[in-house]
Structures are given as C-alpha cells and as structure tokens.
Symmetry: D2
C-alpha cells in the first residue's frame, strides 16, 4: 500500500526502510532537510499521496504531535487516515481523533515497541481504532510486525494502542529495575566470580530468560563491569503516565512506581528529602552533617 | 557417571529421569515408600554406590537438608562428594561444607531453575564449589542443563551457587510483579478489549518478551480472566533472603522488596497495620470504621 | 465579622460554632433541611449578608464545590469574596478564581486541618490568595486557628492553601503508615507484653512523640488490640493528588506512595496483580493454587 | 541509688549528669582518659561500687558491647546486675543474658530515646528484663525518664527493651522520610512562598504536629533552605534490623523499608542498579548514555 511517513528520526527512518522492503510505497517527510526526506513540505507530501491517503506520524509526543495533527486536520481531505505511531499519551488520542473527525478524517494510534532492533526483527504493534481502519492499515502492519504469529494486536478503540504501549513500558521499567537490583547483588558479592557469566548462563533454562536479559549480556560484553556507563537513567514518560492513570483507577503499582522513583532519584543531585532527614538526625542526635 | 539422588519429589524425580535419559546411572532414595525409590535406606543407597560416590540432594531446605547432610557426614567415606541441588540458603552452605570437610567429604551447591519444564528443556544450573569438584560433576551437569550454549555457570566457591539462585529468584519476583501490575491495568481498563490478546501479541518484537510472558499467556489460555485463581501468592524464601542479604550489604532493593511485600500482604487477612490507619482516621476525622 | 457558611456538615457546623464563640456573625446554609441551617436557599443567604459579603464554603470537593462556585458567580456582587475551606484539588482553585474574577468576585482557598478536634483546639489553616483578601479574612482566621503562635499561614497566591493542605495530608499518610507498621511488629512479637503500654510510654521523651501517637493511644484505650476495627482504610484524595503532582515535578515520593498503595491494596478483595503472580508460580513450578 | 556507668560519650555523660542531679551516686568509667572518668579501669569501677552492684552500659553496639559484657561476666559477682542502655540488637540480648546468668549476674536491656535533648527533657525508656530487676532499677529509671506520666515502659522480658527501641526507630525513619517528602514538594512548588512558614504553622492544630516537626522548624531557623546540609543521610542500624526481623515474621513494612532504602541510596555514588537500567536503555533504544 501507499503511505506517507512524517518524522524520519531513528524510529521513523527504520520503519520506512522495513515498509519499503516489504513492497510498500512510502513517501517520507521531516522538518529537517538532513533527514533524507522525499518531499520538502507537508503540503507536498499530501500532494504526492493518492487519496484516500494514509499518513503515519513518528513525531515526538506532546506539542510536535499536537501541531502536526492540527495542521493535518486543515490540509487533509475527507476519508484520509492519520496514524499516530509515536509515544503519545493515550488521553491525547481522543482529542486528536475528535479534531480529525470534525473533518471526516480517520485516526488510529499504534503503540510501537522494539527499539533500534525493530527494522530487523519487526516491531510489536498495539493498535487502537475502528475495525474498518484496522483492516485498511493491515497490509502495512503485517510488514512492520515480526514474522511469527505474535507481535500485532488490535487492542481496542482509539486510545487503546497507546494505553497498551504505556502498560508495556511500565512492565519494562519493572523488569529492568529487577535485573538491575540482581546485578547489584552479584557485582557486590564476594562469592560470585563474574556476574557477566551468571547472566549469560541464565539465557537458557532459567525462569527469567528474556530479551532484556539477552540485552544485558550484550551490554556486559561491550563493557565488562559497566564501567563506562553512569549510574543514572532518565524516564521517558510512559511509566509516569501509567502510575498517574493507576492512581485514578485505584490500582496500586508498587513495583512500577518504585522503578520510576529509582530513575527520578538517580537524576537528583542533592535531594531536599534527604536534606530534611539529615537535618533532623542532626537536631535530635547531634549526628554529624556533611556541610557542603 | 554414577550418582545417588536423595529426594524424589517433583524436582528430584524429573532430574533422575533426565539424567537417565542422558545415559547416567542414578540410584534414587526417598523417605517415602511411594516415591518409586530404588533403595529403602540411606545406608542401602551408600552401599549401592561405588566409591568415590557422588550424592545429589533434592531435599526441602532447612531442617530436612541439615539432617541429611549430618547423616551423610557420618555415613560417607573420604573422597565422596555431596551436591546440594535444593533451595538451601547460601549461608548454610558454608556450615554444611565445613561439617563434611571434617570427614574429607566434598561439597557443592547447585542452584537449579526451570521448574516442571526442566525435564524437557533442561535446567539452568548455578554451581558453587571448587574447580576440581566442578569438573568431577560436569558430566551430570552437562546432561541436566539445556542443550544450547547457556544454562550452566560455575559461579564461584561453595555458597556461590545458592547465592546466585537466590538472586535469580529475586529478579523473578520483580518480573512477575511487573507483569501482574501491567495485567491489572489492562484488565481494569475500559479501552482494552482483551488483555489476553495483548499479552499474546507481546511475545514477539516487544522489549518485554520473556519466558514468564509466555507462561502468562499459557495461564490465560487455560483460564481466561484468571477466574479460577485466587489473588494471593506465597513467598518461597529466596526473595526474603535476598532482601535480608542486601540489607547487610547496604544495597537498596526497592523492587524486589515491593514484590515480596505484595505477596506477604496478599496472605494477611486483616492486617494490624491497616487497623491502625483506620483507627487513626476514626480518631481525628470521625471517619466511619468498618466494625467486624 | 459577618460571614456566610455554605455546608453545615461535621466540619462546617463545628467551624460555625467556633466562629460564633469568637464573636462573629455567621449565617449558615446547607442543602439539607436537617442541617440546622439559618436560611433555606443560596439566594436567601446572599440576601441576608451585608455587601461586600464573605462566603465560606465547606462543601465536598469536586462537583458539589464546582456547582456552588458557579452559582455564586451568578448570584454574588462585585467586591464579594468566596473562601473555599474544603478539600478541593489545588488545580481547581485557579479555575474557580478565574470564573469569579470575571464578575469581580474575590477567591481564597483555605486548607483546614484538625478534624473533629478543631472546634475545641482550633484548626490549622493554610491560606492561598492575595495579601488584601488575606487581611480582610484575618479576623475569622484568627478565631478559627488555635490560640498559640502557630496554626495559620498565608502560604502563597490562590491555590497555595490547598497545595499546602495536600502536602500536609501526604505527610499524614506516611506518619500513619509508619505507626501502623510499628504497631504490627509489637503486636506480633512474643517479646512485647503490651503494645498499648509501649505506645503510651512514647508520648513523652521519645523522638516520635506526636499528636497521631496520642490518638493511637486513645484508640487503644477505646479498643484494646483494635479488635473492633477492620484492617482496611480508605484514601481521601490528597495523597493521590500529591503523588500525581510529584510525578510531574520529578520528585520521587516512595513513602507517600507506599502509604497510599497500602490503603488501596487494603480495599481490593482479590487483586488481579496477585492472580498473575499465583498463576505464574503454578505455570513454572506446579505450585498449588487456591481455586476459588 | 548507686550505679556504675560504662561509656561516657555524648549519651552516657548526659545520663550521668541527669542521674546525679536526681540524687544518685554514679561512678563513671570510659576507655578514654579524656572522658572525665572517675576511675581508670573496669576493675577499679567494680572495686568502687558496693555489692550487689548495678552497672549501666552506654557503649557502642556490637563488638564493644560484646567485649564489655564478656569482661563483666568474669569480673562481677553473684547478684550484680548489668544494664545495657545502648543500641544493641535485641537478638544479642539473649546471648548476653545467658552468659551473665552462668555467673548468677542479672541482665536488663533498656532502649533509650531522646537524643541530646534527653538530659533536659528526660529519656523515653523501654525496658526488658524480669519484674524483680525492673523494680531494682526503678529509682534510676524514674530519674532518667521525663517528668510526666509517660516515658517509661517495662516492655517485657530480656530483649523486649531493645526490640521496642528498634521499632521506635523504624517508625522514626518513616516519619522523617514523610516530612522530607513533604518538604521537597513545598520547596519545589512555585505556589508556596516559604516552606519554613508552612512547617511552623503546622506546629499547632494540624494532624501532623509532632516533635520531629518542631525539630524541622528549628533546623530551618538555623539554616533557611537547608543550604548547608548535604542531601544524604546515614542509617544507624535499627530500621535495618526491623526490616530484617519483619521479613522473618512475614510482616510487610513498605514505608519503613522505603525510608531505609532512601537513606542507602543517598549514600551510593554511582549505583550499579541504575547502570544496568541505563545500559539496557542504550541497548534497545539507542538512548544516549552518560559516559563517565
């Protein structure tokens, strides 16, 4: 099928490549002239696509996606379809869908997992939208997904794709933190000769065998002892949204929240919270305080 | 090679079967006459094995293992080797090794993962002991492990096998809880049509693809909505030991601890902690309290 | 000074009583005829007050408060002042203030702590609004607050009062949970004869002496062993908002979140999260599952 | 009454002063000649005391206390009484009591709270031991405790004093962390003018009024914004022991553990756990990693 792709960053460009290898015609646009774009403007992209058009967005979540959807609402025609493949918060999908619907333009949200490996392995795709739109997009989805039976789900109506991706990433946070805690134990133990060998051995037969474990072994192959990697990690939004959403659903998420807090803490140099604890210890116990 | 196996429960019997299929001679003993044991007493087991003997224990951790090791210290001969394949706490390994060493009997600890699937897939094996003992046991280990390159590690000296297994299980706790939290979100969301389909789709291409995810899909195939499973889970010891050990190492384990606490909480019917919170709310706010 | 009070529930009625004891003229209105209201309608309340009026709301947060503010925006005159003393989320204050400002009506938010004891001891008051409005309301605030030097703060502009109250309640959650965890330990220990005596002893000299500790001792006096109190506790909103707000500020709140999660968990009968953990244990280990 | 005091550090010296002001005769010994000790050796201390003797230890927990108890077991006479007022782990009390009992020497454990303020305000005392020993020590306990009705409890048999003190300190950890989290919110909010004023206002009328809150206000008076205090805090042992003990009792302590983990995390410069998270993000997402 023919698609337009807006956003030719790491993810977008890889998806274009995989789609083209699968026989689809993709016309790419990006704001940056260095992106290898096929057309130089949104208008030119729309001009180049045959109606009814399908346009896939791989644009940063938030304002960039908001702006793009708003412009497309003005520029596209009745019967066109916009697919948001980025990391948009699921609550924004309703707003985008409604805006486009006012112009009889369709909307789908596709949560996408697989990272830089997706071009080769395929992407896990979580789709929100109507059954009709899902079937319309299916040829492209079939190409983007991995080759096996799994890797693609029509999760529900608009918003369900990004909701599902949000949950996926929340689980990912917990798994990564669990692996990190285990590594810390092995690394600090005098009993264990080589944590790298242990993780490598777990790749088969163990209950925790997983792709993240495979990646950790790769990371340890690249950098034994992880000496060249700083002990702090950013958060990307989804786990935060998941905890926020769960608060309102009344679902306790101790592990997801703890994983998020660990990342946040790792980014804070001199936390006010611990200043208070240190100050109180000083007040009641005369415990020495590290003055800065 | 020839081995004695003490403990013919679910794990022990499966390991005997896999060892025999691999061409080894295994003589099994269990306290229970219904176990399918080959001999009727520890003495008969020792009698039946050619010296120098190798005896593998798959006995419940704690007193049963302690008692067995103590009896073996009395009954075995110089040069024999005892292998503890159960879930013993790593700090007990030193004690067992020392006791056996007084009689010139060797000791190894082998952490074993893979559950009921191990007979077919092989077991992930984490070994603690000397290099010499490791090599002596290697033929059996090679048979028990999965067929690929991974699944076996000589983690370090005595204790390292069970330490490593303890850490493995701690990671397992975190991963399981992460999956559980994600499932809760999907199950309670009005957006998502079918959590089962979502988990199934994640088996390929996604960052969280893992054996535990595969098993969850199996569980959902068996029991859609997990309606026949009660929402509480026991803890088996290892995560508790891992948190305990980390306390003394000064390593914070927020996710492992939270996973353990979630299981403990699920087992407590009417927690005193929450009685206090409810009582305080009643005291200062006059909030209604559910009287029992 | 003269005030109107809307909402004559437990909190509102007590505040009216304290204000009247302090020499203020208060005209009370409530939707319920059984409330002991002085007037039978909002219109009658406004009629009865001399302009420029001050009207204090003690109405449930959310829709009831929203509705009341919207009606007051229609009914009040330029120069009148609305004070929200309820538990409104601070982000709603901006909206209410803006709506009223369109009619030249002032707005203040006053977070109020002290519970059912406030009538006797005074209320801790956290005020958001302009300096001018604060001074206008000061006579009433001086009466409502406790008699000492503390208990009243002009925390900042509109919203600061409820923000501060939200944080107060978040701290309260953590303190209550900490006391609960300590009580659980004492109650379950074979070493400790009587947890009640221990808590009573901590009321003087100890580092943790506090009003909440005093209240816990009262609760134990009323109900030794807290036998008549069920081990579950509701959450009232503020801690949830605090965690939500912190997520966006990038501030990790492990203790506040854990306290909130403990309450949420205590309300869930058969948690899906633990069903997954139990199902997975069953899948890989053949562990018995409690079928319902 | 007459007592010997071993250990004239900050706590011990203050207790000697309060005891002497209360009319008791105290003979002090410390290893350090600069301590203001009354006698120069343990032997001289024993010589100077009339039998049956009472000797109070304020010695660091662990080896120093172990060594002192062992020497006292050799040096003291039948009918003497040793009181451990330090921060010994409750599980060590049994051992000490047993050793001393072999020589017909009595033992009590007294958990002591109140910090540097205890000399003036009195100490909260939590006592473990027999009723007979408790009554024997009562004159000294009455002097050390605060002047009101509270502040002293005979918690149970040997070990109960330190167990209770351990729980006290665990609660203290949770309360301090809760205050710290609240402070972080106020400090980072653009709405709140001055966190110091807010905390000060909470000292009366609020639900969270407490001595720790008073101390935090003092700390903010000394150092507005806590600019001179580093954002990290040590842990002193008791919360760690409480979590460890709870693990074995099957009692989940999410808030106490989170408070402990926050302190541990604040002491770790470049945590291995977060290196793993960062390394994994790099592996699957190509996310930039801060190379050191």
């Amino acid at each position: 099928m023919q698609l337009g792709m807006i956003g030719l960053g790491k993810m977008g460009a890889n998806m274009v490549a995989r789609l083209r290898e699968g026989g689809h015609t993709v016309i790419g646009f990006d704001l940056s002239p260095q992106s290898g774009r096929d057309v130089e403007s949104l208008e030119a992209l729309i001009e180049a696509l045959e109606a009814p058009r399908v346009i896939w967005l791989m644009v940063p979540a938030g304002k960039p996606t908001d702006d793009t959807v708003e412009r497309l609402a003005q520029l596209l025609d009745e019967g066109d379809l916009v697919v948001d493949g980025g990391n948009t918060k699921f609550t924004d999908d309703q707003r985008h869908a409604k805006l486009l619907a006012e112009h009889q333009i369709g909307f789908m949200d596709v949560g996408t997992s697989g990272g830089v490996w997706g071009r080769e392995n395929g992407y896990a795709l979580m789709v929100g939208g109507t059954q009709q739109d899902y079937e319309r997009l299916l040829p492209a989805l079939q190409t983007l997904k991995p080759q096996g039976d799994s890797g693609l789900v029509h999760a529900g109506p608009v918003g369900a794709g990004h909701f599902t991706k949000m949950v996926h990433n929340g689980i990912e946070y917990g798994m990564m933190q669990a692996l990190g805690e285990g590594y810390s134990m092995l690394e600090s133990s005098e009993l264990v000769d080589n944590p790298h060998d242990v993780f490598d051995s777990w790749r088969e037969g163990s209950v925790i065998r997983s792709w993240l474990l495979d990646l950790l072994v790769r990371a340890l192959e690249d950098d034994e002892g992880l000496c060249h990697i700083a002990g702090n990690a950013q958060e990307s939004g989804e786990a935060k949204w998941m905890v926020e959403t769960a608060l309102h659903m009344g679902i306790p998420l101790p592990v997801t929240a703890a994983s998020l807090f660990a990342r946040q803490s790792s980014q804070i140099g001199d936390p006010n919270t611990m200043k208070v604890v240190a100050a109180l210890r000083n007040q009641f116990g005369g415990h020495a305080v590290t003055h800065e």
